[in-house]
């Protein structure tokens, strides 16, 4: 049997900030979920099942928080499912929720992902309280240096990505970091954190949540008829690979290549740069934009940086990347993947406001995690047959 179509009819997110001390954990997820339900013109009772995603429980000090958050998310008397696939978890959360609809298990599923980094100390938790944490920047810096060495990319490419994403964030009312006077000079003048990544080329620590309402084909058609454009899930895929072994290429992980090939094949995409209108890629450090453009087969090996340098990935370029401002502008870790997936859906629904790409019909989103070894990806479209085949 083939699986059933799945539509996205509601999207909500919080205003992401360093400290959302005005809300509890329950209040934070409820803020995003309520906005998604309002967007879908639904109420809590309309939801059949809830899928919750977040990165390590040690970050907030709440073990298995799906238990406590069952009440806040209206999941009493419903299935409540908890996903955790490292940094890719937000993406996996959306994929698991879409599978519940596509498999025919449920008609309407609410996916929620969050992180409230201010409740704890991520650096401490990454080292499991043993103080031995390298941190994400330190872990990824060697991969980025290796990319620069391999590709011969000019050193300005990283700062250019940072400027572009921070300019996009100025158009996104929910983005955490808004740096009005951002410039190449300002980025390059910021302190070097983990060579080659400077302070302004790095993601912030954010409190935030994202929620998405999924429904079946009937629900999607109803929303469409009511003038609320749905986004259709055209394909999704995940891949994992071990962190380290001889022969693994962490700069261009095989899992990143395979996950892209998988979704392209499902949709029938043979030329992603031409056939996809825009992309939200998980770029927590500037250099990851050209690295993912290559690993996901949008650019040839060694040529991803040229797309950045030529402005192709700018909001008005031919392949806009991270229209929302990306992870560089808001990073509630567990939610960051679902924010990418949600932004792609907003683009094809035409609801992205000032950061809308004109006429976007097909958008991709990606999230990755751990030592660049967990990948989640989906492609969404404004219709089930975006290429009119």
């Amino acid at each position: 049997m083939g699986h059933q179509p799945c539509a996205i009819v509601g999207i909500g997110q919080t205003h992401h900030k360093s400290r959302r001390w005005d809300v509890s954990l329950g209040g934070l997820v409820r803020e995003a979920a309520r906005r998604a339900l309002d967007d879908a013109e639904m109420d809590w009772d309309d939801i059949d099942a809830v899928v919750l995603g977040k990165a390590p429980d040690l970050f907030e000090g709440v073990m298995k928080p799906e238990l406590y958050l069952t009440d806040a998310l209206g999941a009493v008397g419903k299935p409540m499912f908890r996903v955790h696939t490292a940094g890719s978890v937000g993406g996996s959360t959306g994929i698991v929720a879409s599978h519940l609809v596509e498999s025919g298990r449920h008609r309407r599923v609410l996916a929620v992902a969050y992180q409230k980094q201010s409740e704890g100390n991520a650096q401490f938790a990454l080292g499991s309280g043993k103080g031995a944490s390298l941190g994400a920047g330190g872990a990824f810096a060697p991969f980025m240096r290796s990319y620069i060495y391999r590709s011969g990319a000019p050193l300005d490419v990283g700062p250019m990505v940072a400027v572009k994403d921070r300019e996009n964030a100025l158009k996104n009312p929910y983005a955490h970091l808004k740096i009005e006077d951002i410039s190449l000079e300002k980025v390059k003048a910021s302190p070097m954190m983990w060579d080659p990544v400077r302070y302004l080329e790095s993601c912030p620590s954010s409190d935030g949540a994202c929620a998405v309402v999924f429904t079946d084909e009937v629900g999607g058609r109803e929303a469409e008829a009511a003038g609320r454009a749905p986004a259709w899930v055209l394909a999704s895929a995940v891949r994992s690979e071990p962190a380290s072994f001889p022969g693994r290429d962490p700069v261009r992980p095989q899992g990143a290549v395979d996950v892209a090939n998988d979704v392209y094949q499902q949709v029938g995409i043979t030329n992603p740069r031409e056939q996809i209108d825009c992309a939200e890629l998980y770029v927590p450090f500037s250099w990851y934009e050209p690295m993912w453009l290559e690993a996901h087969l949008i650019a040839e090996p060694g040529e991803g940086w040229q797309m950045v340098e030529s402005g192709a990935t700018a909001l008005d370029g031919d392949f806009p990347v991270n229209m929302s401002g990306g992870v560089l502008s808001s990073n509630p870790i567990g939610a960051s993947g679902l924010l990418r997936f949600a932004e792609a859906a907003m683009q094809v629904r035409g609801t992205a406001g000032e950061h809308q790409v004109d006429g976007a019909k097909v958008a991709m989103a990606q999230a990755y995690g751990a030592s660049a070894q967990y990948f989640a990806m989906w492609i969404v479209g404004s219709s089930l047959d975006p290429y009119g085949s």
Binding site: F59, V62, G77, M80, F81, A86, R105, V238, D258
Partner: protein
Amino acid sequence: MAARTDDDIAIIGWSQSPMVRATNKTETQMLLEVITGAVEHTGITRAELDFTCAGSCDYVAGQAFSFVQNIDAIGAWPPKRDSHVEMDGAWALYEAWVRLLMGDVDVALATGSGRSSTADPGTIYPMEMDPYYLAPLGVDAMTFAGLQAQALVERGAVTERQMAEIAARTRRDAKDNPFAQVSGDFDVDVLLAEDYVRSPLRRHDLPPITDGASAVVIARGDKARELCERPVWITGFAHYAEIHYPGLRDLTKAESVTLAGKAAGLDEAPIQVAELQTAFTHEEPLVASALGLGPDVEINPSGGPLAGNPIMSTGLVRIIEAAARIRDGGTHRALAHSTSGPCLQQNLVCVLEGDER
């Protein structure tokens, strides 16, 4: 019985580790052994696993991203379609089952693993409560279980003697379970002479602290028949949650157990065996009653969680034990139950059936 179609999914292989108080193996090593065991039991290789899903818990492991190391045990090279739930392996199996329902891949693996010896469960478990109003009280799982047991005793739903009899019965049954940690013959009067740990719970009412892991292989219809002479079909699979705050619930009821049983089609035909994740003695009559199980249903013939309680794997082990009873013959239809959270907050039911013979 309806003819099986390609959309039906069956359990075709499994493996569990010995249940021990403390292993000197890492969680990854435990998983390496049970995954190898499960694929060998199935007669396949890791390369034939189209999808894998692990269930484990960072707090039990005492480490953030603890499951990331466990990917080494899966053998995810070339890279695999893979996922992880911060839930018992029974829910990992649920995700794997949904993944196979999608129809594009045929074989999946689910695992559950936990090393409770890493830390003191009494310190960890208060952390799963509401962080603002309940966690600061430091109330551990035993105390919440005690509150529920007391409510059941006061309601007349169970007596302390019946609870001791459940402890004695399950540990006697566990003598035949080579994986069991606690087994043997116990005199109910002797058990009842002991002091309370948390009134009305005595030591025998509590599960042991256990390190352990388990793995289950499932496959879609035709593939299941191709790989396995006696597939065990998953005919129903559902889970539900209820209110987190024990104070807002009637603790003498387990409504989400009833919901899960109904949604899993439990009422459609009689079952012979029920493997329940009832880690405390008083939970057995509560869950059995919520599922409407009659006296003819054999409960926890493996000994159940009172004989070995590898947190994050305990539920998946119930599914293995129920499947094993069907595979071994004598049982046609069985159910497995898993739970999470204070006072049975979240419950899962999996209904299994063999082919007519």
